[in-house]
Point group: C2
Chain length 462, copies 2
């Protein structure tokens, strides 16, 4: 496993004092980073936050056993879940079975993953029409056990499944993933007899990709989950190190924090040069946004913290976003994800066609071109004083993908400590949820239906 | 055709003076809007910028004739292009043939579109493996005729095609879309005998979806391009109106401009509540970013203008980004895209399962749920003083999609005039391009190879 982090283009020596970290700022930051490391270590040791323990605690045997029992009986895995229950599985699928948007052929020896996250009715009906219910395993995933998008879609999907395989057989084709003893999904799973896996209480949804949330769909689609965990464990071996030269997640957290706090880089662009890592940048977008987007710090002071993440894709977005990135407001920090070795290079035929815009490329490869574009873009950003850093992973395989998840989770946790916020809650979405319950007539939420009516009346009056 | 624009939640009456437009600010803005309208009208009348004329000038008969001649001979359309040559076609495909990420079945009567934008070698090889070259029409699209990603990938794809159908037949299976008489693609197309369509000189890539760039792939995949153009033409009928109550694109431009200039909303979240419109938000992301992200205004003053666009998806991103949107920095403006009528509602079975988190949804529909979430999220954003506006389209069909393209292009052009910048160039990407040419050994670019070497040496020294 080999991941490198290069932050040279984040420093004043490359992008100037106004937009880059000065040596003095970095020196002063070291003490903050060490405090953050110690604080998070204690919270982790005390089992307040659980993700760091996952590489050593998950029941891989149990997951692989169920996967091997089901093997051959399905060509599609239909995952019903949203947010942290969908983005981790998608990131794994995109990286190791994709790349997005190519799904390729699927059959019983090479099943595909279909994720039903959104409650768009046209999307859900098109997705169901694309699967054969007799050859589908349904995963229903919600940590709380009560997420409206998931419970509603599951009712639809379970009906579709029962119609096809019968009410008696259907429960054996469903796997529930939720919190033990809490929420209605666990109750329903016990009543119906669904095989069930549990998410540890102290692991939040956005940190749950290395729990059954990510591991079960991965195992069912032939991803090597042992290797994923091996990669993640290798990150733990460096993430507790006090030496910033060795501790990549801590160093990355410090650099990102300093650029946000001292240089007002309020936007972070997650910029992989690989279609396989595109799903990962959407997964990271949730992790970073929900963890650090907080109204108050731990002392209760209103700070409206957060750095807005953007999922970009190289080289594609050079032809869409880089104009803005280079010439627009200097309010961004770029985190480039670079792949060292592609599995294939896509050689360009050597035959010349007689036109210069084509012929200089003849005999070269797309692999060489995308890497040249990655280097050129980092250089152009630097020349325009736009700070940028680079994570280089050796290959896109299960081990490196597992490592990258764990690395970015540690980075996020450390960044939360540097900002002195609770990176593990998400109070901000409560009002919207309650208003939705009110509009859908859920018992106990009439006051929110009334709130909506008052709001609509106010809109009419102003 | 019915599109409504509701900006009430952008005003001080709903979100307060600090984050909303005051009546005085809006009054003062009206004169700016009128000036912007007149300026852009003149530039359009003078044919400096061409997109506004497209609904009345494109050769739909010629495109439909070629499509009907080819009909039945292909089940896949493989588009090689990047940036404006890919995002418009993707937005159309996602809206009218998707919804993303479901591709469904495809055959000669219902062909699919495969877009090769990125030069990721693993992606390109997987995409080629998923198509049968004997049943594929290749589109090669580049306005300049020399885009490196497009020329390199086309060499590969053309080789793949010739191997399968022979060198003699291959040219009849390729369609080139480029600028007439300029660039090497037009030269190659003439030499090889590819059927060719031209992009008007005065229409930039990101404004080109209603030229052959968007129309040819749409026609080849059974999209009703006459209806798309009808919808676009309906926007022209209101976009020149001086009355801000009628001129939706001008009003939207003014509101977005005021929130950027007066309330520092440096980020715009394009937030469709529809998987079908997700591609549209990526198309818009290029349009807005490249058009408004400019170092200098027309007087040559450095202003680093621009508002950073983000593509989000409702309800999905409520479980990923809304925590940040509600509690994080109040630096965003939300443009919600709402669909009035879904083609299907996805009814939830009425049968109860005995658990409250499921049973309140029984007998309702996903269509009702997603609309409740859309309303609830807008209300929660408003309650937290986060300005948000709403475009409501009656249905997702060819007419409304064509209208939405034209509406957002007019809005962007007006916003460029309000910022007093040239919204139609993109100088910022030149250095990166030249460095790539240098690294790929293109003739005439050795100085940029040397520049890269000096940059690498500097990185080592600091």
């Amino acid at each position: 496993m080999k991941i490198q982090f290069d932050d040279k283009n984040c420093f004043a020596g490359m992008v100037g004092d106004k937009h880059g970290i000065t040596p003095q700022e970095f020196e002063a930051g070291k003490a903050l980073a060490e405090k953050a490391r110690q604080r998070f270590k204690k919270l982790s040791d005390d089992q307040v936050y659980g993700f760091a323990h996952l590489p050593f605690t998950q029941d891989l045997d149990g997951i692989l056993k169920l996967a091997s029992e089901l093997k051959g009986s399905y060509d599609s895995v239909c995952l019903v879940g949203i947010g942290g229950s969908a983005l981790g599985p998608w990131a794994v699928d995109c990286a190791l079975r994709g790349p997005h948007p190519i799904q390729g052929k699927h059959d019983a020896s090479n099943p595909r993953l279909v994720i039903l996250d959104n409650v768009d009715p046209m999307f859900i009906e098109a997705a169901l029409a694309s699967m054969n219910p007799k050859k589908t395993i349904v995963l229903v995933v919600t940590k709380s056990g009560s997420t409206a998008e998931t419970t509603s879609t599951f009712l639809l999907v379970y009906h579709w499944l029962k119609q096809a395989v019968g009410a008696k057989k259907a429960p054996s084709r469903v796997i529930a993933i939720t919190t033990e003893g809490k929420g209605d999904l666990d109750g329903l799973a016990r009543k119906e007899g669904f095989p069930t896996f549990y998410i540890p209480q102290n692991v939040g949804g956005r940190f749950s990709v290395l729990t059954p949330v990510g591991l079960v769909p991965a195992a069912l689609t032939n991803v090597d989950i042992r290797k994923m965990m091996k990669g993640a464990a290798a990150i733990n071996a460096l993430a507790w190190d006090a030496d910033l030269e060795k501790n990549i997640p801590l160093r990355a957290a410090l650099v990102h924090y300093l650029l946000l706090a001292k240089k007002k880089k309020t936007i972070q662009v997650a910029f992989p040069y690989s279609n396989r890592l595109w799903g990962m940048s959407f997964w990271f977008r949730q992790l970073w946004a929900e963890s650090l987007g907080k109204a108050k710090n731990r002392k209760g002071k209103v700070i409206n913290a957060g750095q807005t993440p953007i999922a970009a894709l190289g080289a594609t977005d050079q032809h869409s976003q880089v104009q803005l990135y280079i010439e627009g407001p200097n309010d961004k920090l770029f985190s480039i994800y670079r792949v060292n070795k592609f599995d294939t290079m896509a050689k360009i035929p050597a035959e010349k066609v007689g036109f210069e815009s084509f012929d200089y490329l003849a005999g070269q490869s797309l692999g060489k071109l995308i890497d040249a574009e990655c280097r050129a873009t980092a250089a152009a950003l630097t020349e325009n004083q736009r700070p940028n850093c680079q994570f280089t992973i050796d290959r896109v395989d299960a081990e490196h993908v597992g490592a990258l998840f764990q690395l970015l989770e540690f980075e996020t946790a450390f960044a939360g400590e540097l900002l002195d916020i609770d990176a593990f809650d998400q109070e901000g979405v409560e009002l919207g949820k309650k208003l939705t319950y009110g509009l859908m007539g859920r018992k106990g939420f009439k006051e929110f239906k009334d709130w909506m009516a008052a709001y609509e009346a106010k809109r009419k009056s102003v």
